[in-house]
Structures are given as C-alpha cells and as structure tokens.
Symmetry: C2
Subunit: 718 residues, 2 copies
C-alpha cells in the first residue's frame, strides 16, 4: 500500500534535487524520473519523450481536481457534486471508525444509493490545492547571514508562522509553507479544506486488498482497491468547479499516463552519512518497533471477531510499514547501490574543499546525523510516543501542549500548534470516534514494557512512569481512570476533552486525569529531545541548502525536490515487468483474479468475498467480463502517499487510480528506476465493470456518466 | 505450551535451591513448591500436607514409566508394547516432519490402527531415566582448590567427559552428568535411548491447540492436546517393563496429584544482578528476535496453503516463545516482586561480608554478568545462530565442528561433540526430514539482514559474510549452492552430509560447499564469544556453589535444585483459580468446548475441525458426553519442558497429561506461587471419551484396556 509513512517515524529532513540524485546514482536520468511540483512541470521533456505537450489549462484542471487525504493519501473529484474517488486503503481508516460491534463496513463493504444514506466520517479532512506562491525571498530575508543554527531555526519558525497566519486571515484557506530542496525554496500552499466528508461506496476489504500481505507490493495484482466519498459544505454536497471524467478508451501497453498525487517522503538527496544512519539505525529501529507492534496487535485480533474488527486497521498499517521499510532497507543493504552512491558523493565532495574541513556541508551533515542518532531511540520513545501507544495519551498530550503553546506567540510554538494548524488539530483531537479500552490496555501495556526494557527497569523516568506498578497494572489504571476520549460501549462516562482544551492552562493544571498526569510527567524530557533533534535538523537543512545552491548554479539542470506530501505530477508509460523469472504483461484482468483464487485454493488472504464467489460462478462464461482489465503497471515515479492518485491520459481523462508499487519500487525512496520498479493502479474499466456487474451500483455509474457530460476535460496538445 | 525453551536462547547458568528461593521470595514455602529429583523426594512433607506416603516402589514405577522427548517435552509409557502418551504439541515437530505437499498430518490428524500403518519419525529420540548416581565427590576432587575459573572449567570438563565416557562404555546407556544446585552437586543420569519412534495417533492440531495463541497460557481451557507414539527396538514394538495404567476414577476438586516430567529451566536461585540482566537485556533481546521471526515466518505462511504447512511449526514455536517470555518479563517488571527479592538478597548478603568485597560471591556474579551482557547480542547472533537461520547452516556448522572436535580428546571438546553425545548428534545431523528452499531463503535473508543491521552494514564481518551481495542475493546463492541436506521435491540433488561427516577434516577442508564456507568464515569469532561466555558462566557457577554450600550448612532445609530438563516429581492439588474477575472451577468439559466455539462464532483460532463440528451436532443431546471432563487445573509446580508429563493419583494411575500453565504460572520461572498460578492438564477421561465417541478408535482403547489388565500399579500408602 502506497500510503504515506507516518511522519512520526520518518524524519522529514533529507533534501534532494534531480541533478544530484542523478549524480549520486551515477547514471543518466531515466526518462520518467521526477515528482514535479505543479508550478514547475518539465513540459519540454515530456513533449520530447512522450510526444505530449501539456498546457497550463490542462495542469490547472488536474490540480484542482486532485484531493489530499489527511490520512496520508490522495484522490480526485469525479463529479460536480463532490464525489471523490480514492483507494479503499486510503479510506479504510475512516470506514473503520464508522463501524461498531454490529457494523463491520471494512469486512462487509458499504453502499449508499441516496444522499441520506451516506455516512459522515470522523476527523477526515480533504484538501484541494488552490494556489502556490514562492515566498523564498521573504524567508531568506528574515534569517540573518550570521545566525547560529538555533537562531536561524527561531527566525525561520517565526517568519513561516507569520506568512501562514497572514494568508489564512486574508483568504480563509488552509495555508502551509512548504520547504523544498531542503531550504532551497519555500512555497506557500493555499488549500481549500473539506471537513464534512461522507462515505458513499466501499467494496469488501477482502477484494480491495485481495492477496493481503503476501501480494502487497507485488505485481501482477488483482485488487479492487477503491472507494468513494463525497465532500459536503454547509450540510449539502459540495459544488466543485473541477472534476475528472472517465476516459472513453482505456490504457494499452506503451500508453503515456500522468499521475497527480501527494508522494510523502523520499531520500534521493540524502548523503552517505544519512543513508548509513537510515540503514544501520533508523530503519532497523522502525522494523523493531513495527514487528513488535504487529505481534501484539495480532495477538489481540485473534481473541475474537469483535477484537479482530477493532484491530484490523492497526494491523494493516504495521504489516504495510514492515514490508515497505523492509524494501527500502533491502535496497540500502545492497552493496552495489551503496557503492555507486559512495563514489558519486566522493566526486561531489571535491567541489566543497577537503572533506575534513569542519565547515564543509557534508561534514556538517555527518556531525548533525551523529547527534540525531545519539538520541534517536529515546526521542522515538518519549516524543514519538512509541512508549505510550494509546489514543487517550495522544489526546492528553495534545491538550497539555495546546494550552501551553497557545499562551505563546504563534511563531514561537511547536509547529502543530500554530494558529494556521488550529482547524486540523481540533478535528483530530475532538474526533467522535469510539475508543476500545481493552485494546488500549494491551497496546499501552506493551509500549510501557518497551519503555522499561529500553531504558532499563531501574531508570528513574521508568520508575516514575510506572509508579510502583507493573506495566499491565499501570496501563489498566491509566485507561480506567482517564476521561479524555469517547469510550466504546460506555456512553455515560464523561468525556472532558473539550472542557479541558477550552479551559486553558488553569483547567488543565487543576485536572487530576491520570493520563494527563503521565503526559505532564514526561513532557519536559520529551520536549528537550525534540529540541535537540530540531536543532540538528536545522543544521542539516542549512548544509543541504548550501549543496543544492552550489549545484543549481553550476549545473542549472531542471530539478525536482524530494517528496514532501505536497501535490506532484509524475509521467510514465504503461509497461509490464519481469517478475519471479518471467515476463508479465502490464495489465491484469478479472479472469486472472479468479484463476489466482483457484490456484491458492481460496485460502486466506486469497479467499474471495461471498459476493465475488457468486459473481465468479455467474459470469464464468462471460469472456468479455473476464477479459476486462483490473490493474495495470506503469513506470511513473511514485512513492508512499501516492495511494489514491488519479492516473489520467494525455487528454486528462481518468484511466486508473494508483494503489501500490511493486517490491522494487520501494527503493525509489533512494533512487528512481524504471527497469524493475513499477507503479500499480486499479484500471478505470475494472472499477466500472465491478460496479455494474458485481455490485449492481447503477446509481453510482449514473452519477459518473452525468459527470462526463457536464465537464469536458481540457485537452493537452499532441 | 509448556515445552522447554530452547537452550540456545536461555542461558542455563543460574542456580538455586529451595531454602534460598524462599528467602528471596520473602515468605513461607507454599505447600506444593518444588521440582524434586527422584532420588530425593520430600516424602515426609508430602505425607504431612497430602496424607499420602509415597514408597520407593511407587517412585521407581513412575520414573521408569516416564519418557523424555528430545524435542523438549515429556511423556509416559501407557502399554507394555511401547505405546507413549504425550502432548500433541510435543509430538508436533515429528508429526510435521512426516508431512509433505500431499500430507498435512498436523491439520488433518493421523491414526494407525495396525502396526504396519505406524509412521517412523525423523530424528526423534526418547529417553527413559534408568539410574541416578551422585558423582559430586569425584568431580570435586578433579578440580584443584586454587584453580582459576578457566582452569576449573577445563578440569571439570575433562572429568565430566571421562565419567560419561566410562559409563557409556560400561553400560551402553546414554550417560549425562547433570549439574545441580549450580555446582552444589553432580549426578550421573543413565538413560535408555529409543531412536526408532513411530506415530500411532494424533488428533487435528486445531482441537489439540484449540483457541490458539489467545488461549495459550490461559485457563479455563478446552484442548485435546495429546498424541500417541510407539517406541520400537530392532524393528519391533519395544517391550517395556513399566508403564502407567489409566485410573478407574478421575480427579475431583481438591484431589492430590503427582506430576512426573522434565521441567527445562528455572531462575529461582538467580541473584538480583542476574534478574536485572534477564529483565533489561536477555528477555528484551529474546522478544525482539522472536517478534521479528514471527513476522517473517507468518508472512511466508500467508503465501499459500503449502507454505502455511511448511511454516506452521516454526510459527507455533515463536508465538509460544513470545508469550512465555513476555509472561516472565511481566513478572520481573512488577516492582513489588523485584523489591521483595532485593530485600531478601540484602539480608543474605550480610552473611558474606561487605557487598563491595570483590571476592564476595554476589559481587563475583555481578561482574561475570556484566561480562556476559557485554557480548550477549554478538554471541547470540554468531554462536547462537540468530544471524544464520537455516537448516543447511546448522548442518554445515555441525559438520565443520564435528570433524575438528573429533581430533581432540573427548574431555577437551565442546560439550555437544563429546563421545557420549555422538548418538544424539548424528541423529539430528543426518535427519531424513526434507528442507524447503524457499522457506530457507526467506529465513536466511532476514537473519543476514539482522546481522547487518545489528553490527552495521560496513562492519568487516558483515561485508565478509555478505560477500558483496545484498542479504537476499546472498541467501539465495548459499541455499542454491549447498549440498548439506535433503531437499524437498528435488530427489536427485546430492546430499553430502554423511560423506563430509565421515570424511573428517581432510574432506571438509577440500569441500567448496558455500554454506560450509560461511560456517568456516564465522567459526573463530563464534568460538571466541562462546569461550568468553563459558568462562563467565563458570565464574558464576563457582560463586553460586559457594552461596549454596553456605546456606546448606547453615539451614539444612530440604532443598530442590533449579530445573535442568531432568526428571522431577511435583505434587499439587486439583484446584480452580480466579480469572478475569470471576472464580472458575478446576475442571472443564466438552460442553464448555462447544459453548466457547459458539461464543467466538467459530472464527479461527476458535473454529472446530469438521469432525468435531459433526460430533457437536450428533452428541448435542448427550448430557453425559457433554459433562465429561476435558481439562483440569492444579497447583503442581511445573515449567516449560513439563509438557506431556503424566499426572498420576496417589495410586500411581494416570489421571491426565500436563500441557500448559496459565499466564500467572510463567512467573514460576522466578518464584513458586499457588494463588494465581496453575498447571493445566488434559483429563484422562476426556482422552478416552474423544477416542471413543469422536474418533471411533476402538483399537487404541483396546490396547489401553489390555495394558491396565497386565500391569497393576504399585500403591502408595495412605
């Protein structure tokens, strides 16, 4: 699954640029490399390589039809009344939160043939990028030349907050300043927010994620990984001025396709010091935490059907994270890849004086990396919350920090508490989703145990946190005593989130909520570790900016920045790949799906949901249906966060929805490849055929057809 | 599951005694504490507490009916023609190895109504303890008073090997000198070996391990965790002179029961330094390795039905290990338990002079522990083979070391290569079980990745091991190239184990087998780490012996040694327990089993095998069957390795088979408890009822009935 990896576990602190990535990879740019900002697309190169010249109007239409999900994925408007198409796994978090002991929409699917039947989601936010403004000059001016890293950090934090505050006040739009090229540029992104989002249609998770963990990040694939939401405004379906229409003709092998979505994070600009840390420290730690969590969550899920329902989303997440990180690590452990990058960096370094010169940017990055690594595990535990895996704890910390930070000027606050982030923060904090205490206790027990074993059972912080109890006793006491969430099955238990959040420091200080007490106990140390990390990050940022500017000046090549979970355009060709020793075509079909179920004896995770088993029987003789494309592969440059990205043809018409990359695509984190790496999409034809022949969702097909009549997409020039 | 934890991951180096454990726990001995050697049972105490005076004849009969499994469990003869009853999970390893792509005996069960149909197992060895001889004086004499730890280690190793060699030569019996009370005593155990063992009957794993991981280490329980093997001699069923007969009357609440089995390892004599290491280092490392392995193996198992079959045993093992170690860790993380032991140790230390005195035994143990901890992870990786998780690698190392060690006098060899261990070693090395290459590659890839991330990707040993390849490439190359095992599905590929093993150093040196090359590459460093660990162990052993001798002299109390996977007797009462807030009785029934399946909606792991679903329907109205006892709980003092132990009544008749302890029993590793901890057994009545009513195994019931007529058990006196 190509959702964005959590920023809590991935340091967004590594910069990059095309020219550099090429130099590091030590080879010519592959034609389709690049995740391009919409205000700087490589128009000429695309025209040269693909014979398609995209226009400003084409780009604008695609940009304003594209949607970002706050759960870490992408999507697109597909009707004038706010219908949004995305991946099932991007919507799964929201779908899961709508369920309860009686309703398992993930397992059973969901369909709302009328607006009244659509289900309002908890804390789901959609963003549509309205404009991009380059504010680099203003940011540069605000930071004095002679500033130390800490001073630069403070000055930059202040000016970014000010720009965002002004923009929000002037336009009412969500306003985020995005750091590109690691300080090479700063862009102000203004986005329209939709916070009333409703579920329209979802298939069963078992067909959306057919093949489960074994087939995840593989190709060929057979997944109907889609679902539909609808954005609302003022209680009515939103009237959106742009949306994508379904292509009349589907893709064929060799076709040019474009992907518009939000790749989350890449490390293509990382230096060897950063890559070694990723290989030897960060990814191993991630994998350690993920496999541990996987064991704990799975053990809970096995307790019974209801526990399985509660845990299913968390489980998918850790499985996916394990496989994704494992793939990146595998790339970094390939000595040939590292050797190539090492040689390329050695060449690059020559432009910056002796490598031992302390001020040289590579040496500064290495020093800062050592500082980051020294506190990595402790920071992840205490600030990253790996030691306090609990919804209640997250609420407690958010409330505690919100009231403290609110007392400061916006420009001096921790980033997530800035005025411009207030809306999204409150959406998350005050979510109406239900919390399951038994599951909370299991997760908190294990994460407190992790804390104790990581720091040692006699560490003073550990003994203070455990307060003389075993991890299990302490977790049970904390969960039983807190009032910072909405408890599943206990409607009469008070929920004091709003009261404390609105009450400010006085109310919070007076509260004896035990989870708030725990958040308070560890807050100073957690903040100290965060400050250390932010300072080292800033040092790296400045060094990276220096490298990037020098290369910019010297080479002047067209450059794209590392992914930052902002809207990007990628281009590629529909193309198959060699897998497990044999060539396989770019396009799979429904017939292939049913054949795979037979081959795997219908054993989970290769079992078909009842509706699909029945359809397989009924349509067995329907050669046209069986030959209908279900998924296809292309060479587009994507990464986690691109899940749900619309795939369009040269005419800007929808031909598919990205949902995954193959296992070789995971190394795209570090360097682009079009030999083995592939982006994988659900084919638009497969979506329509499934809606029609399996789900009988005529009402939804009618809306899509009507959308096609009312909005002709702008053509690019060929 | 109460199989023995692997000695590869548990250091057998912590001593103990009853009196000391009591002192450390800071409370009076609970009546049923103790895992007693058969040559030193607490006859008077049992008579006082239970009103049963056991006799020498009664003990001898039980001892010679008891069986040890080399897979880490216990069992008992139940007929004169070598029929052995044990747990299904003790036999599962052997049952699994009998399967192939067409036969899944774990899933489907197995029944051999005739001798001809019984299946001969691969590398399964049963031992029956014939005699115990105290050789403490001879061992003491062999070690000079003024010896350094390393000299003492060498001297002791030599004399132990000599005693074993002499005994084997004189009697032909397996001869092992067992270290008890951590050097307080040395006993020579002579055992009869059975290496031709055949499978007679096994139910489906899904009823043997009903409730799976969630119910493992829990009570109430509903598991038919039994299977039957038969020992053969000279190609015919073995004529055994002692066996247990089925009790005429089953157990009731409050009854006295005895357990005869092989508890694997306890830490009741551990000092605080050792417990802290266990809590902060050893158990966390174990859990880290286990959860990682669990994720890798489960991902492989999900690939398809055949992969699931291949992986199922490994998966059960890691799940069980995770839950077992998690339980011990939970106990150690309870500050109240540690505080009690800390106070008790402080009192004890006063008898040994100032705690800072370097020669004081507690300080010596602490120093040695620090030395052990310093190399713990590296030793586990290289000597413990966590970095080379491959059957082929294990064979390669065994061959490499066997030919090297064979050139030395037996007393100077690594323990497992002594002459007295030759039989068991060859049984394992030359096993006919099939190895699955795809599974090997997955496990080896992950363990090589672990090596690289643990030592760092640029560590010289890592780059030498990987030889310029990624872990996945390297693993694939090693597995494809080696000829040190019998390959599943490739009967024509050569298998050079025997050839190299017999060929000695010359043949091995000439071999270019890549796996042998890997074993050779890491051997010096692995041996160095092992020698360091053995030296520190020896230092601890001497210090423990000093503590134990002093307490022996001072208190003279009846003592039992920490568990050592040797035959022990435990006594207890059939008793229920408070679980999840309510009292539950000591005995569960078939009715309870079917009710649980309904409560859990028959969702795995709470699904019933088809045969049991049918039986549930057919016997729904049969109140007598539904009321038949299936499992029962008692206060007997057991630990991992006791799985499959016969439970007998005062008359020495079989009333059940131990298969598990509840979650609170895991802390028995550290201290006995009869408030919350319970041993859990399959009730003999449930076994017979299932054989009769569900499996229609009249032939097996007839053999058991005949066994009852031919061998009257010796009565104890009441």
């Amino acid at each position: 699954m190509y959702t964005r990896m959590s920023s809590r576990t991935w340091r967004a602190g590594l910069a990059g640029c095309l020219a550099w990535a090429l130099a590091l990879a030590g080879r010519r740019a592959a034609a389709d490399e690049g995740m391009w900002p919409f205000n700087a697309p490589p128009v000429d190169r695309i025209a040269r390589d693909h014979g398609v010249r995209i226009t400003a109007g084409w780009l604008d239409h695609l940009q304003r039809s594209s949607v970002r999900f706050n759960t870490g994925g992408s999507g697109a408007f597909v009707s004038a009344t706010g219908l949004v198409l995305t991946n099932h796994h991007v919507g799964a978090d929201a779908i899961h939160k709508l369920g309860d002991a009686e309703h398992d929409y993930l397992r059973d699917g969901f369909a709302a043939p009328t607006a009244a039947a659509e289900l309002q989601c908890h804390d789901l936010e959609l963003n549509v990028l309205v404009s991009i403004e380059d504010v680099t000059a203003r940011v540069r001016r605000a930071v004095p030349e002679e500033a130390t890293p800490d001073e630069a950090f403070e000055a930059r934090r202040a000016v970014l907050a000010e720009i965002e505050r002004e923009s929000l006040a002037a336009t009412g739009l969500r306003s985020d300043v995005v750091t590109l090229y690691q300080g090479g540029a700063y862009h102000l992104h203004r986005s329209k927010r939709y916070t009333d989002v409703r579920l329209v249609f979802a298939p069963e998770q078992q067909i959306a994620f057919y093949g489960g963990d074994p087939d995840n990040f593989e190709f060929p694939r057979y997944d109907l990984d889609v679902c539909f939401f609808r954005a609302y405004e003022d209680g009515r379906p939103a009237r959106v001025d742009r949306h994508l229409v379904w292509a009349d003709v589907g893709v064929r092998e060799g076709d040019t396709v474009f992907v518009s979505g939000h790749p989350g994070h890449t490390d293509r600009g990382a230096t060897i010091a950063e890559l070694v840390s990723l290989r030897d420290r960060r990814l191993p730690l991630d994998l350690r935490l993920l496999t541990r969590r996987e064991a704990v969550i799975r053990a809970y899920a096995l307790r019974g059907p209801e526990e399985k329902r509660q845990a299913t989303q968390d489980l998918r997440g850790v499985e996916n994270g394990r496989k994704a990180r494992g793939g990146v690590l595998a790339g970094l452990l390939d000595p040939r890849i590292m050797e190539t990058r090492r040689r390329a960096e050695a060449e690059l370094r020559q432009g910056f004086g002796e490598p031992s010169e302390p001020a040289a940017p590579f040496a500064r990055i290495e020093r800062a990396q050592a500082a980051l690594d020294a506190t990595l595990e402790r920071e992840r535990l205490l600030e990253g919350e790996a030691a306090f895996d609990s919804e209640y704890f997250r609420n407690a910390r958010t409330i505690l920090r919100a009231v403290t930070e609110r007392a400061k000027p916006s420009g001096q606050r921790l980033r997530e508490y800035r005025d411009s982030n207030r809306g999204p923060l409150e959406l998350r904090l005050l979510s109406e989703k239900r919390i399951h205490d038994a599951f909370e206790i299991v997760k908190l027990t294990d994460s407190l145990t992790l804390l104790a074993t990581s720091l040692g059972g006699d560490d003073p912080l550990v003994t203070a946190v455990l307060a003389g109890r075993s991890p299990a006793d302490r977790a049970a006491t904390l969960v039983a005593g807190t009032e910072l969430g909405r408890r599943a099955g206990m409607p009469t238990r008070p929920d004091r989130r709003r009261e404390l959040y609105d009450g400010g420091e006085e109310a919070v200080n007076a509260s004896s909520d035990p989870m708030l007490g725990l958040a308070r106990l560890v807050d100073a140390e957690a903040r100290r570790l965060r400050a250390l990390a932010e300072s080292a990050d800033e040092e790296q940022k400045q060094a990276h900016a220096e490298i990037v500017r020098a290369r910019h000046a010297r080479e002047g090549a067209a450059m794209y920045p590392d992914a930052t979970f902002t809207l990007r355009l990628a281009v590629g060709s529909v193309r198959g790949v060699r897998a497990e020793g044999r060539e396989c075509g770019a396009i799979t079909t429904f017939g292939g799906l049913f054949a795979r179920a037979v081959e795997k004896q219908n054993v989970p995770p290769f079992d078909l949901p009842p509706r699909w088993r029945a359809a397989g029987e009924a349509l067995r003789g329907d050669a046209e249906f069986m030959a209908t494309p279900l998924n296809f592969a292309s060479t587009a440059d994507i990464i986690g966060g691109n899940s749900g990205s619309p795939v369009v043809n040269a005419a800007g018409q929808l031909v598919g929805v990205i949902f995954d990359g193959n296992i070789h695509s995971l190394v795209l984190d570090v360097a682009y490849d079009d030999v083995l790496a592939r982006a994988v999409a659900v084919d638009a034809r497969g979506i329509r055929a499934a809606l029609s022949r399996v789900y009988g969702a005529r009402w939804l097909l009618d809306e899509l057809a009507a959308a096609g009549e009312r909005s002709g997409a702008l053509d690019s020039e060929r």
